[in-house]
Assembly symmetry: C2
Homo-oligomer: 204 residues x 2
Amino acid sequence: MIYDISMTVHPDMAVYKNKPEKKPVFTVVRTFAKEGGYETDVSMNLHTGTHVDYPLHVLEDGDNSDTENLETLIGEAMVLDLSHVKTAITADDLKSYAVKPDSFVLLKTVNSETDAFDFDFVYLAEDAARHLAACKVRGVGIDALGIERNQAGQPTHKALLKQGIVILEGLRLATVREGYYTMICLPLKIQGVEASPARVILTE
Amino acid sequence: MIYDISMTVHPDMAVYKNKPEKKPVFTVVRTFAKEGGYETDVSMNLHTGTHVDYPLHVLEDGDNSDTENLETLIGEAMVLDLSHVKTAITADDLKSYAVKPDSFVLLKTVNSETDAFDFDFVYLAEDAARHLAACKVRGVGIDALGIERNQAGQPTHKALLKQGIVILEGLRLATVREGYYTMICLPLKIQGVEASPARVILTE
């Protein structure tokens, strides 16, 4: 059984704060009538849909995609069902879980219940990010287009990225239950960038 | 051991026939100086670098990405070392291999020895595609940006895609030896398109 936990990329998909300039644009550049084949260009933000944030996204001297380590993106992941959380996931919400070093934690929230962008999406509070960093996780994923909102200076991103912890945003976890899975997260291999769109699957 | 057999996407990468309009273009849309963060847009052809061709690319009524089956893209793959072939891989070149139904065949050629676009790249001849289709393979990958060239009407593409056989182009196989691997090919999940850029890895 393969769970595809990636967002579908299309022109009308949810994008951060519904900003029109963040919607991907597709342009057909070859047609059967004219060139005897069909080809499309896409113009999109690298943070479109399911994607990995590299440290350069929020840290001026941060690493970019060139230091990505596939070993981090493939392996066991634990899905935590936090669907009862209303606003922000706090350290208290996480303390009942045995989060071990090297875990990859995927946060399932009410965000997975809609495909629309919710301005009040559930996010990971700074103290929860510090807790996960102290647990020495290898990565954190969330079913929102941002791992935080309305926190000046983006402390959640920084608490994780400064420790080399991967951030995975834009997951779709509605069909996945709490528990352990094997995750395969493969971002596009793009040189020297601060984020990369990815396809992510879980298997049991 | 993970073999990353994907091309690196960057502004000066090899693109089909070196056409300038096929080079991906990156635009920085947020900077630390102005917005306190870093964000990039990309504009690219869906056939950039390593990618999957869906039937719609060459068949007017062909299926698009919406019918993609991840089970086909994940599983055993056999790498055939055809580095001795000079121009086109023919059915004769393949007949010494025991290609079983449901195999995913990856064709390693001299194309993997350079990152530049070679106008005379080694391709899969029509008769070889028909042979592989008769073997009922589930997919064929090649280390060129096209699986064929200079064949009017794209008969290699059609021989495969009409049978629902996946075509995977733009692989990099220099570091991989002939033999059996587990392949994981994850294209971006894009709705209704004729091709999708992918990250592809092999494990032993």
